[in-house]
Amino acid sequence: MFASFKDKIGEAVLPGDVFTLELPSPENKAKAEKLICGPGLRRDGDNVSVCKCGVLRHKPPNVFWIDSQQKRYVPVKGEAVIGIVTAKSGDIFKVDVGGSELASLSYLAFEGATKRNRPNVQVGDLVFGQFLIANKDMEPELVCIDSCGRANGMGVFGEGGLLFRVSLGLVRRLLVPQSELLAELSALFPCELVVGLNGRVWVKAASTQHTLILANLLQSAENMTAKQRQQLFRKVADGAL
């Protein structure tokens, strides 16, 4: 059934490309398989059509999606992002997450927060949270607690560190399990790294100099092959910067 997908895995596809599903005929009692379409793929009658330009990816057994190099973030439910608090109004904060609308964040959505005990959040602070509501028709809503009410790494950022933007593709490459890039980076300098899926990365190393080097390395790793990157990192490790 997935034959038309199988020969295109790992290849670049363009909007308008169509994959046909060879559906088993009703007489044939073969069990119908399920197909899960991720970002960039749309069902169009009996076909699946591509609506984004990128590389077709597959996760066995039946998940397909398109990996593209975008810069603009579109909020998705459950994704963890770094936001900047831009306004305080009554009992909600307005947070800029890089999407088309500001996200709202309730002051009760922090660990240990109650009506009496408000969290200490000022305009201009950075917060790390996840989307509780994110769909095209509604205002996105952030929370800084998980479903059990624990912070679980989320909340307001402390002093120091540096925030910068990279492409969404690089962020996803950093977040894959056993990311090579992340391993190479952490081998260079010990650092704290917060990666938001909206393309924002926050780094804090032992000194300002190290923080800046790490930020520059990450930004330049964007358009490098693995070999070029390793060469650069080796140079830095030898003290070239």
Partner: protein
């Protein structure tokens, strides 16, 4: 170039492009056809002014900046052609209440400017990763005083022509999405020009595919 190839697909000038060359916009591209060159930048989906908000789809705004001076009536007419083509290709209902802005800067005009604007726009929209139902390309044809149809003309050829037509063609069924004509054309000439443009579009779509392949070859 092969002589045979000329017979198969109508002659066009050499074309080239570069994607993601600007750092600030969400998507950018430059498209070169011969000496004609257009630079495109796309911002969006971004916040929209309340007065321009559409509740069930994104608001698309197209701006064309001429090489010299302020945009005038001619640019406005081109903007409308590009906007309506892009609106047909984009799945704007996936980003309601947001704005998409497409800015096209003319770098050099040596004929077929509207076609080049359309091609640059498509490349920039692809780079921005906006959802599209199909791709599109623009092709300009002129009919010379001898009645010969020339695709992708230069400025000189445009000036010497009797009539000029620009078509936007979609990538799936190669149908005409938009047409803009100037001068008098017979029905037969129009149909011939459309058929020629459809054949020329195949080369542009192949070029789109090749450039995307090259761009994504680095990331494994």
């Amino acid at each position: 170039m092969d002589v045979n190839e000329h017979e198969v697909s109508p002659a066009t000038r050499e074309f080239g492009c570069e994607q993601n060359l600007l750092s600030r916009p969400d998507g950018s591209a430059t498209f070169i056809q011969g000496n004609t060159n257009v630079l495109a930048g796309v911002y969006g989906p971004a916040e929209v002014k309340v007065s321009k908000e559409i509740y069930d789809r994104a608001t698309l705004e197209v701006l064309i900046q001429p090489k010299i001076g302020l945009p005038g009536v001619r640019e406005r007419a081109r903007e409308q052609c590009v906007r309506e083509t892009c609106e047909a290709a984009l799945l704007s209902s996936l980003h309601p209440r947001s704005s998409l802005s497409l800015i096209l800067q003319e770098v050099h005009d040596d004929g077929s400017l509207l076609a080049c604007c359309l091609n640059a726009a498509c490349m920039a929209l692809m780079d921005a990763g906006l959802p599209m139902s199909c791709l599109f390309c623009g092709i300009t044809c002129v009919i010379s005083t001898e009645g010969q149809i020339i695709t992708d003309p230069t400025l000189q050829q445009e000036k010497e022509s009797r009539a000029q037509m620009t078509f936007a063609i979609d990538s799936i069924e190669k149908r005409v999405m938009m047409s803009s004509t100037k001068g008098s054309i017979s029905v037969q000439e129009l149909q011939e020009a459309i058929a020629l443009s459809q054949r020329a579009s195949e080369r542009i779509f192949q070029f789109y595919r090749d450039s995307v392949h090259r761009r994504y070859s680095k990331i494994q």
